[in-house]
Symmetry: D3
Subunit: 298 residues, 6 copies
């Protein structure tokens, strides 16, 4: 992902944490110019996403930070894995630590949750897609994290696809006026998708030549029927209440896509940490059990 | 919360969703000037937070939006509760819908999770506090959501409190130099807290007159001993791995604070929705079962 | 178009003109509180676009400006037409005048040029589309102006459609790897278009199931052959050197789209002006010849 | 021109094109790390302006881009001239290509149009000046392009000069109150110019000691009379409807300046392109005919 | 002064004070919805500047604030004067208080210092001008404050006037190349001023037709000689070490301008305060001695 | 201080000075590519603060500027001291000169004033603290300058400490409700301070367990009594009208802190300058008397 797409967010996040006064603790406890060695550690295993972003945050405060990467975004790691080794200015590393970890943990949490569902669907034709239920300001990164987890992206916003939902249909006065109006607004690069609740609505949309359908909260039975009726004429996306426990069954109905809002709005953060030692201290081991301290606290 | 503290975030979030092209679907399906009636509904019960923020997002696109509030931030609601009734421009409501709901669901999710733990601690002296493990760009709002849930805030950033953690101590070369250095940098309004892993470190900190201690990953036994040793001379904060299942027991050790990073980085979003009908359509009922559709999809 | 999509641009443009010192001339020549009546006039006929944006600029400096609109975006007007009547603070109107007119003239120029080509194509199936050759910072507004002129929009940016151009193909090592790679990156809402220079490349792309083709700099003969070969299996876009003089002939080959970069990068501005009189002066007539003065000068 | 004056614009333009999702096409078609060689080519001859800006845009996405410049801003080039040679990351070059070319083409178009008029005036005393009829957000760069074409700049905004136009005069109630008021507001570094429509107004202004006059829409006869009457006591600027065809005649009346709004609001873009080849491909020739493809399309 | 020129600064200042957490004290001590009556008081007499800006800051947090103005910018007031009466939301007034007062006190301090010197010069032809030695971010407002004090503005920045100083002259290699080069870059609206240290340099500049001279650190004798030599052919500005005690004597040499950097970089703030009472409390008197409390503290 | 905390301010300040047109004088007088040697000189002695910030401003326009530092922030220097030697692009140095000096002079002025008072208090227990009476936009830097002068910081804003002032107390209805309310809002890291005017109020606050007291405008007698009554149970801050002449006596009453608003709102700027010579000119000496010219002018 091009840094220009996240630089401003990282700067805002660093400033949000530094406030007006800067890092009182590091300035108070550590002499200027002190150098330290550090390791970014995944306390829990999962799929990495956001390592470049996190390293960018650290480098923003120490422009000559030295970094060795041991893993890359999209890679699966075990509990205690050392993702990167660092050497740089101790104050800068401590000041940027939380910002870097907040981003890395959040994005890796999304990638890990995505991968879990992707793995469940192996052997089916269904792909996992995310939604616009993202955290304000983080959409680009969260959609990137979904891709790192093996999922695909739906629309990135209101302007790069047309999804006619129940609210639109109700206010527009029906499926036909909604679809025909949408077609007039869409350019030739934009696909049109229609949310349907029943097979009847699906058939109405198919007759209108709609490209894709969001099958909202349908039973497995209904989904199978939708696949049968559609017969490859449109993309079918199952949506609504798809938990890991139910995902495989949904996929086996033959739909093309499973969309999961919770990947971006509710996936728990992955537990990541930064462990520092003075540069002239004993070399840090990278074993998981050495990585226990400093996990908690605000 | 003063709107000046969230206006820029809301604008950025709306622009993030509208992109360069605006809301293709609403522009395509709904004639300009169409008016609609809407309800913001909590599909699942919980504690509300961010309703003002969500309404601000909607009003940003329809400056003459009419709003009736049925609940307020900090209130607990049941499944299907109607939080607010709206009447305004249909295109504007649809264009702002997802941004408003993303904020409301995220913040209400944090408030709901906080309240759950606060309720568990009733009758003990312990308070719930959040950490700096927040989503980049959302710290002010997330800390507000914790307060709405009944929790208290720890530092809001690196510049309004001193928390000497293991990394600082290690790089500083011990507890004493770290504490003494920090005291020189702190103004008279800033308290100093020290992360400790053992009772010995706690005693060392008490001897140095430290104001508060973060007791990291201690057993219940150790926490009780810490309370006994401290004897009211400092604030004690238990931290690390405090799940709802373990919170009550931790609180009963007599510590003052339980800090929980997951409140802000991993609490699942509350399921909220906006249901619209054309203004001249039949009046919407507010019963939960009427609020079923349109939950899914990107 | 939602004001949130152009407010920041208008503010930046006003500040760019006001500089640090504000409008020296108006402050020097006109007492504070002086009110004036004004008319926005199209010196030359054309298609209006950006009137709301221009009025927003004027209202930004006089929040209680009174406005009567006589025309709307998308309307065609004659030489000397009065687009809107104004009454407000004289200093504010003068300070915002140039910013408002620069926007209105630029966007109306694009709409006018687009309409000219759209009119030429009447009776054919071809639509006019614009490109990404837009003025930095103005893409949303310029694409809106194209729509007001009767044209359609292609991609609004690099992220809402895939267009494999010669450069991609060359660096990717051929059509097949480029198309297959693109398909993996595209979500299900994103269409894929391929630039081709020959009928052979078109056939290669059709075999790969590409959704649309940009036929670059083809002769009328080649375009006809492309239409025949494609036979409705994909969208065909003619591009390169399409002047008004040649547009009709290109459209009659049967292609779906004519893309014209010059609509947004080279269309001349429409000549618009603001004529002011003191509020207690004689009522302004709206006849074209009354609208002669003040056209020139920096 | 100092980069600090255009960096923010370039960043905004790149982000406008990349959107939230980045360059789908390049990410899909070209493996990360692929390197390419490129040439920035002027398909049509003209005067170069904005090459540094364009290269800044490319370098913004590839910070280690290698560049060789073959021409500089202000230079005149022939059809097919290679302006610069590049070697860098293929994805970055493709992602920044359109932004770089949009800027270069727009500014070179202005410089080229300016040079055309400047050349027509050779041997007269008259200089070409631009106006405040610029594209919102681009004033600094457009005025720079005029200078590169050999023209001079008028005011850069409302705060660095006083130009009393018809609207001011009408609302102020005459020439005398307007000029005297303006003098009170102007500092000693600011000159005062007055727009006049008749020789009588010119004489009134001269009697008031005005520094310069904008002679609006005067005939050649009137312009000559104005020069005679003024007799070197003030700067005379001819304005209004000055086409290339009429410019020489206007200049020969003896006025000091010809101001042309269309240089900045209506000059057509110069046709420039970026041609890429894989780094390990055959070396690109720089001959014009080799530079034919990829001109079109959005 | 148009609010668009200071709105962003005021917002930034409010956010700088509110931080991430908002006004803890007001939120803690005062119930939401509490209303209060307030008075903005000048503890010490002086010249008012920035009252609109200060009221804008207060209204930004309470959009329906009710205000009565008793004085206006540029007015001279006595110790204890009530500048404005307020009625609004107590929390909002307290949260915006310091930002509003910091601006009002700073700008009124500059206006007061300017007026003091202007008064000293009454009866001479000399005007007081400020310099570019302003506080970063506040130039527009500080130059406005100088005008409110009765002074005039020099350049507002590097781009609206040419002032050739010793550094330029030394690097350019002499007066002549510097002046001739500058003339080529200046447009016809821009005046050229030259810093000179000796009468010889002044004569050299006069021979080159320079518009104005900055006479740097000259003795009264030298200044008189400069006036005699120049004989009205250029504007003369005395600069360097002009204290109130020496200003009258400098003015009486016959120079046109006295420039004083310290007006904007070192004028002490005027002591202003906001006194609040609960809305239902006894009416506040406006006598100075009633206005004693709350002057100090951070 | 981390550059991320002042970079945006420096950029804004440079852009404020450069305007839209850039540095006309340097562009006019000095050929591109000219190199110069320079010295930053303190014309008057004092305490340096902001040297890094000033050098950042210069380096922002010449990224390869070569710098030698002869002094550091916090150091005391004599009249004429050379703070740093520079070698770089002449135009860039001249364009950034005023911005750099405005920052350096302003911050050094604050540090110098602070050090003067700190020196007066030597041997007492009292520390000097600043207030929130800072220049809008400069709070972080001004508080840093106070620290460089040897002072300490009070709150940096409304969210990192609680200071109950007279206005709060009056609107809240007394000391007790104000203090108790504040305690509920404060987290465990935030101290509570109360402004008191009388010994009675102090005793009331002590009984409520308040952490610190702002003793507003008390006589020396009252201050001594406050110290006696408090007996070490709280921090005591004297505030209001503390001039250098009175500071020692106030400190000798035994209070902990003296707060001085004028350090940040009224300290005069330190006189600093940049002296340039062409790179191939004679080497500059660093003696004070060589540093005389170019002090004045806008």
């Amino acid at each position: 992902m091009l840094p220009i797409l996240y630089e401003a967010l990282v700067d805002a996040a660093l400033r949000e944490d530094l406030g007006r006064g800067g890092d009182l603790t590091s300035e108070g406890t550590i002499p200027p110019g002190t150098r330290a060695r550090g390791e970014i550690v995944a306390r829990k295993g999962g799929v990495v996403a956001g390592l470049d972003v996190a390293l960018h945050a650290l480098s923003r405060l120490d422009p000559v930070l030295r970094v060795r990467r041991f893993h890359a975004d999209g890679g699966r790691v075990q509990d205690g894995a050392v993702l990167a080794g660092l050497e740089g200015d101790a104050r800068a590393l401590l000041a940027a630590e939380r910002t870097a970890l907040n981003l890395l943990g959040h994005l890796s949490g999304i990638a890990t949750a995505t991968r879990e569902v992707v793995t469940l669907l192996e052997g089916t034709r269904a792909r996992v897609v995310c939604t616009r239920k993202t955290t304000p300001g983080l959409r680009s990164l969260e959609k990137y994290a979904v891709r790192m987890g093996g999922g695909a992206n739906h629309r990135t916003g209101l302007d790069d696809g047309i999804l006619i939902k129940d609210n639109h249909r109700r206010v527009a006065g029906g499926v036909r006026p909604a679809v025909e109006g949408a077609r007039g607004r869409a350019g030739h690069m934009v696909r049109i998708e229609l949310e349907v609740d029943t097979i009847g609505e699906l058939e109405e949309g198919l007759a209108l030549g709609v490209d894709a359908f969001l099958l909202d909260n349908m039973t497995l039975e209904e989904l199978r029927e939708a696949v049968r009726v559609t017969d490859g004429r449109a993309v079918l996306e199952a949506s609504g209440g798809i938990t890991p426990g139910r995902a495989r069954a949904v996929a086996e109905t033959g739909v093309d896509l499973l969309s999961l809002g919770w990947l971006t709005h509710s996936a728990p953060s992955l537990d990541v940490a930064l462990d520092l030692t003075p540069l002239d201290g004993p070399p840090r081991t990278s074993s998981p059990d050495a990585a226990a301290p400093s996990s908690g606290g605000p």
